[in-house]
C-alpha cells in the first residue's frame, strides 16, 4: 500500500499542446481516487504518467514516499487495467495472470498458487486454460482485473475498465468493483468519463478539464458544492439547470420567478449583479405530492419523461441560459448519454425537474414545483467560480 503524490505535473505534446497542466494531487494510502472529465481532459495521460508509460514535461511523481518520476514502470510496483483489456492473445488465461509474476522470477509453484487464488476471487478459475479469444467481454474484463490483482501491487491504475462492457454488465461489474475495492483497500487511481462510476466508486473524485484540475472532493461534496460552473454542469444526471439570475435585496430572480435567499448564503457583494443560478433537477419537487412550506414556482410542462421510479418534468423558463466555455465543455462530455436539450429560443432556458412518480403533471399542463432555497447554487458568470458559499466550503484549487 502506498500514498501517491503528484507535484505540479505537466505534460506538453509538441510545443504548445498541454495535455496536463500543473496538476498537483495527493492520493492517500488505500484511497480510491477517480479522475473524471470529458474526453481529452488529460485524465488518461495522468494515469500513464503515474504508470511510467509517459514521461512528464515537468513535475514530480511520488509513490509511497519514493520519487519515481524517472523510474521504469516495472520499478514502480503498480498494476494497470487497460480500457481494451490488452490481454496477451497468444497466452492462456493462466499465463496472462501469471506473466507479471513470471517476469519477477517467482517460483513456478507460487505463481500457480497466486493465479488460482486470484482466479477464484474473480470467479474465473474455470477459464484458466482458455485463450482470450474464447472469452466473452465480461470474462476478458475479469481476466484483465485479475492480471492486475495477482501481483498484489502497491497501486492499481484503471483506465476506463468498464467502458467496453454493455450497459447491464457495466452496472454489475461496477458493484463488483466496489466490493473488491472495499476488500483489497489498495490505493487506486481510476479513470472514467462516466460520472455515475465516478460518484459510486470514488472515495474522492478529481474533476479535470483541459488538463487542469477543477475540483477534488468526495462525491457528495462535489454534488452539493461544485466549485465552478464546469463541475456543476458536469456532475449530476440530469445535469444542473443553469440560468441567468439577478440578486436584489434578499431575493434572487430569474424570468418570472423570484426566490428568497437563505441567511447562510452570503451574496451581499453581488447585489444588483447578474449571476449564474444553478438548481439541481432533484431539488425541484412537485409541490402537490410533497407538501411543504418551501417557496414554489409554477411552470407550463413541455415534456414528461416517465422512468417508473421517478418522473422528469421538462419545462422552459423565460430567462437567458448560462452558456460559457465551461457549460459547453460539460455538455459535450456526456457523449449522447444525456437528454438532448430542448432547442431553446433566445432568452429561454430548458429546465428539468426530477419529481416523485406520483406527480399529476401532464404535457401542456401547469405544475407547481417547490424549491429549497438552501440548495441553490450561485456562480460568477465571468469567472465561473462558485459564489455565496462559506469559505470553508471552497475546495477549488487556486
Amino acid at each position: 500500500m502506498a500514498k501517491i503524490a503528484l507535484e505540479d505535473i505537466t505534460k506538453r505534446f509538441g510545443s504548445d499542446v498541454y495535455a496536463v497542466d500543473r496538476v498537483s494531487l495527493e492520493i492517500e494510502d488505500g484511497e480510491f481516487m477517480v479522475l473524471v472529465g470529458p474526453s481529452g481532459c488529460g485524465k488518461t495521460t495522468i494515469l500513464r504518467i503515474v504508470a511510467g508509460l509517459e514521461e512528464v514535461t515537468a513535475g514530480e511523481v511520488y509513490i509511497g514516499g519514493r520519487q519515481v518520476t524517472d523510474l521504469a514502470p516495472k520499478d514502480r510496483d503498480i498494476a494497470m487495467v487497460f480500457q481494451n483489456y490488452a490481454l496477451y492473445p497468444h497466452m492462456t488465461v493462466e499465463q496472462n495472470l501469471g506473466f507479471g509474476l513470471k517476469l519477477r522470477r517467482m517460483p513456478r509453484a507460487n505463481i500457480r498458487k497466486k493465479v488460482l487464488q486470484t482466479a477464484t476471487t474473480l470467479a474465473i478459475d474455470a477459464l484458466l486454460a482458455r485463450k482470450p479469444v474464447a472469452l466473452s467481454g465480461g470474462q476478458r474484463q475479469r481476466v484483465a482485473m485479475g492480471r492486475a490483482m495477482a501481483r498484489l501491487p502497491e497501486v492499481f491504475l484503471m483506465d476506463e475498465p468498464l467502458s467496453n462492457l454493455d450497459a447491464k454488465l457495466r452496472v454489475q461489474m461496477r458493484a463488483e468493483l466496489a466490493r473488491l475495492r472495499d476488500r483489497l483497500r489498495t490505493t487506486t487511481i481510476y479513470v472514467t468519463h462516466d460520472q455515475v462510476e465516478a460518484m459510486t466508486l470514488g472515495d474522492r473524485v478529481a474533476v479535470l478539464k483541459d488538463g487542469r484540475l477543477q475540483q477534488v472532493a468526495t462525491p457528495t461534496e462535489l454534488f452539493n458544492h461544485p466549485a465552478n460552473l464546469f463541475v456543476a454542469a458536469f456532475i449530476g444526471s440530469p445535469s444542473m439547470n443553469l440560468v441567468e439570475a439577478r440578486i436584489s435585496g434578499g431575493t434572487v430572480s430569474f424570468g418570472p420567478y423570484s426566490l428568497p435567499l437563505t441567511p447562510g448564503i452570503d451574496l451581499s457583494g453581488h447585489t444588483g449583479d447578474t449571476v449564474a443560478l444553478g438548481i439541481r433537477p432533484s431539488d425541484l419537487e412537485d409541490a402537490e405530492v410533497w407538501t411543504s412550506d418551501l417557496p414554489t414556482i409554477e411552470a407550463w410542462v413541455d415534456v414528461i419523461e416517465e422512468l417508473g421510479s421517478e418522473v422528469h418534468v421538462l419545462f422552459t423558463v423565460d430567462a437567458s441560459p448560462v452558456i460559457t466555455e465551461d457549460t459547453k465543455a460539460a455538455a459535450t462530455a456526456e457523449e449522447g448519454e444525456d437528454i438532448i436539450p430542448l432547442t431553446a429560443a433566445e432568452g429561454k432556458t430548458p429546465f428539468t425537474a426530477r419529481v416523485d412518480a406520483r406527480t399529476a403533471a401532464r404535457p401542456g399542463g401547469l405544475v407547481r414545483l417547490s424549491v429549497d432555497p438552501r440548495r441553490l447554487h450561485f456562480f460568477n458568470p465571468q469567472t465561473g467560480l462558485a459564489i455565496g458559499q462559506s469559505p470553508d466550503r471552497a475546495s477549488a484549487p487556486a
Binding site: 500513464r48 504508470a51 511510467g52 508509460l53 521504469a72 514502470p73 516495472k74 503498480i78 498494476a79 494497470m80 487497460f82 480500457q83 481494451n84 483489456y85 490488452a86 490481454l87 496477451y88 492473445p89 497468444h90 506473466f99 507479471g100 517476469l103 519477477r104 482470450p132 479469444v133 476478458r140 492480471r147 501481483r151 491504475l157 467496453n164 414528461i304 401532464r362 404535457p363 401542456g364
Partner: protein, 311 residues
C-alpha cells in the same frame, strides 16, 4: 406500461405460449431465382477453372516432359509413352544434383534465418520504440530498396574479393544477417498493427523492450515472420544472378539454379538439348518450393486467426 399521457393506449404484447413446435416445410426458392443462381455458379466456376488451367499448364507440361524419352520430348506428343521414370536417376550423370541441391539449401535456409534474426529487432525499433530520428532512419532503410542490384554488385564484388569470399557461399549468406530493407518494412508494418496497449501491459507487468519483443511481439508476429522467411527462402532458392557471380566459378559452391542452366549448355554440347533431363531437373528444383509453400500455408492461416483478436 399504461397509456402515455394524452395519447392512445399502447397495445400490450404477451409472450407466446409454450406450444410444441409444428414441423415447417422449408420454403422453396422461386424457379427464376434458382435458375439465376445456377447460371451464376456455372459462370463463376468457369472463370476459376480457366484461370487455374492457365496457371497449372506450364507445370503440367514440365512434369510430363520430364517423363518422356529424349526423342519423344522433341516430338509433338503430349502424353509420355512410355513413362521414363529413370530420367530422374539419369540427371546425376549430367549434374551433381545432391551437391548443388545442398548448396541451394544452405543458401536458402541460412539466408532466411539471417533475414529474420536481423530484421526483427530493427523493425521493432522502427515501430515500437520512440527515439529521435526514427522516421529518417526508416526512410533511409526504405531508400536502399531503390538501389538497383546492378549498381551495387561491382562494389560488393570488390569487397568480397578483398575478404577472399569469392568462390564460397559467404557473400550470399552473410549480408542477410545485416538486415534486409524489404523484410524490415514488412515486419514494421505488421508490428504496428499489434495494439500498443499490449506492450504497455507487458511494460507494467515488468518487461523491458527485449522481453516485450521476445514474449509478446514475436509470438504475435509469427505469420509475418513466416512470410518474411518464406519470401527470402523462395528468393534465395530461385536466385541465379548472385550465386553465378560470387559462387559460380567454384564447382563446389554451384547452386541448383546455376547448375540447371549449366546443364542446358553441357547437355547441348555433348548430345544436343536433352529436354527430358532438363525438365526432370526442373521438377526436382521446383519440388521443395511447392512443398514449403503448402507447409507455410498453415502458418499463414494460423496467423490470420491470431491477428483477428483484439484485446
Amino acid at each position: 406500461m399504461g397509456s402515455l399521457p394524452g395519447r392512445l393506449p399502447i397495445a400490450t404484447v404477451t409472450a407466446p405460449s409454450a406450444k410444441p413446435r409444428v414441423d415447417v416445410t422449408p420454403r422453396r426458392l422461386p424457379p427464376h431465382i434458382r435458375r439465376r443462381r445456377f447460371l451464376l455458379f456455372v459462370a463463376n466456376h468457369s472463370v476459376a477453372l480457366t484461370l487455374a488451367i492457365v496457371f497449372l499448364m506450364p507445370f503440367v507440361v514440365v512434369f510430363l516432359t520430364a517423363l518422356m524419352s529424349r526423342q519423344q520430348a522433341l516430338s509433338t506428343r503430349y502424353w509420355p509413352h512410355p513413362f521414363v521414370w529413370s530420367n530422374f536417376l539419369h540427371i546425376s550423370n549430367f549434374l551433381p544434383i545432391l551437391r548443388d541441391g545442398w548448396n541451394s539449401t544452405v543458401y536458402a535456409v541460412l539466408s532466411s534465418v539471417g533475414v529474420v534474426v536481423s530484421s526483427v529487432p530493427v523493425a521493432y525499433a522502427l515501430s515500437r520504440m520512440r527515439w529521435r530520428g526514427r522516421q529518417i532512419v526508416f526512410i533511409l532503410v526504405l531508400s536502399t530498396l531503390m538501389l538497383p542490384d546492378q549498381v551495387t554488385s561491382v562494389p560488393l564484388y570488390v569487397i568480397f574479393v578483398r575478404f577472399h569470399w569469392i568462390g564460397t557461399l559467404k557473400p550470399l549468406i552473410v549480408p542477410n544477417f545485416l538486415g534486409d530493407a524489404f523484410s524490415i518494412f514488412l515486419l514494421r508494418q505488421f508490428f504496428m498493427t499489434i495494439p500498443e496497449e499490449l506492450a504497455d501491459a507487458a511494460r507494467v507487468d515488468g518487461a523491458g523492450d527485449f522481453r516485450i519483443l521476445t514474449r509478446v511481439v514475436i509470438p504475435l508476429a509469427k505469420p509475418a515472420l513466416a512470410a518474411v522467411a518464406l519470401f527470402q527462402f523462395l528468393y534465395a532458392w530461385n536466385d541465379f544472378y548472385y550465386p553465378l557471380l560470387y559462387a559460380g566459378n567454384n564447382p563446389k559452391t554451384v547452386t541448383l539454379a546455376v547448375g540447371l542452366s549449366q546443364l542446358l549448355s553441357s547437355v547441348y554440347v555433348h548430345f544436343g538439348v536433352a529436354w527430358n533431363i532438363l525438365m526432370a531437373g526442373s521438377v526436382i528444383f521446383m519440388a521443395p518450393v511447392i512443398l514449403i509453400f503448402f507447409l507455410a500455408q498453415r502458418a499463414f492461416i494460423e496467423g490470420v486467426t491470431l491477428t483477428g483478436i483484439k484485446g
